[in-house]
């Protein structure tokens, strides 16, 4: 008999095999298994991802929120720390100086991730290197 299972967050670490490679490493994922009480033959798994800023990999956050970022910051460089946008600019050096000032003033602590909002998130391209 299939029981309805609510898998607690604390047990999620033991269930990495259920995560796709893309999801692996993300901070909080809740899995719910449901079954149809009227028809026990049907069983499906619904995955619900809850993303939070705390402890989340900022690069993953950036990728995850790229559609929303594109609405406002298309082609801009955006720096993210703990799930919050802390600097925006056209040039990486410009963004770096904003981040440095905020660190110096004690506004932020930690290492943010900066990516380009667009189809390709790389902040730096080196088209010519072959050494």
């Amino acid at each position: 008999m299939v029981e309805e299972i609510l898998i607690e967050e604390k047990s999620l670490k033991e269930m990495k095999h259920l995560q796709s490679p893309e999801q692996e490493g993300r901070n909080k994922v809740l899995f719910y298994e449901h079954h149809d009480r009227q028809n026990l033959r049907e069983l499906y798994i619904m995955r619900e991802q809850i993303t939070i800023g705390e402890n989340m990999n900022d690069m993953e956050w950036f990728k995850e929120h790229l559609p929303q970022l594109r609405e406002k910051y298309e082609s801009k460089l955006v720096a993210v720390l703990d799930g919050e946008i802390i600097a925006v600019g056209d040039d990486l050096e410009e963004v770096a100086r904003i981040i440095e000032r905020k660190k110096r003033d004690g506004e932020i602590k930690g290492i943010p991730y900066t990516g380009r909002v667009g189809d390709d998130i790389a902040a730096v391209h080196i088209p010519s290197v072959y050494v």
């Binding site: 690069m59 963004v95 770096a96 991730y113 990516g115 902040a123 730096v124 072959y130």
Partner: protein, 130 residues
């Protein structure tokens, strides 16, 4: 060997990466195809840089050993000395592309006039701002 040379037909020069009183000499390829200056992490480690010195992490995309790759890399704001000129708080990306050379990119080159004579194997950087 002077501060300017050629390596496999790449124009290279010796610069210094500076943090406070520490200075590390690095040979860099003058790379007009790179927007930023890139220094091997091994060289940056000699400056004693720690996590607190990393301004941000970025994704860097390029061609390494003929294969395209995208990796996460640390970015710093450091002093660079090129000849007699000192560039303060210049963006430097730490990235190992399998050699002891770095890349001197646009963000540093914009401060100079650049002359390269491949026939004479000669490189000159002339400071634009004195």
């Amino acid at each position: 060997m002077s501060d300017y040379s050629f390596k496999n037909n790449y124009p290279i020069l010796k610069i210094s990466i500076v943090k406070e009183k520490l200075s590390v000499p690095v040979w860099v390829i003058i790379d007009t195809g790179s927007p930023y200056t890139i220094i091997p992490n091994e060289m940056l480690n000699k400056l004693g840089l720690g996590n607190e010195d990393i301004i941000t992490k970025i994704t860097i995309h390029g061609v390494v050993h003929k294969e395209e790759c995208a990796v996460e890399a640390p970015a710093y704001l450091l002093q660079i000395r090129i000849s007699e000129k000192s560039l303060e708080k210049t963006l430097v990306v730490g990235y190992d592309f399998g050699s002891r050379f770095g890349l001197l990119g646009h963000n540093a080159l914009v401060n100079f006039q650049l002359f390269v004579d491949w026939r004479q194997k000669m490189v000159k950087l002339r400071s634009l701002t004195g």
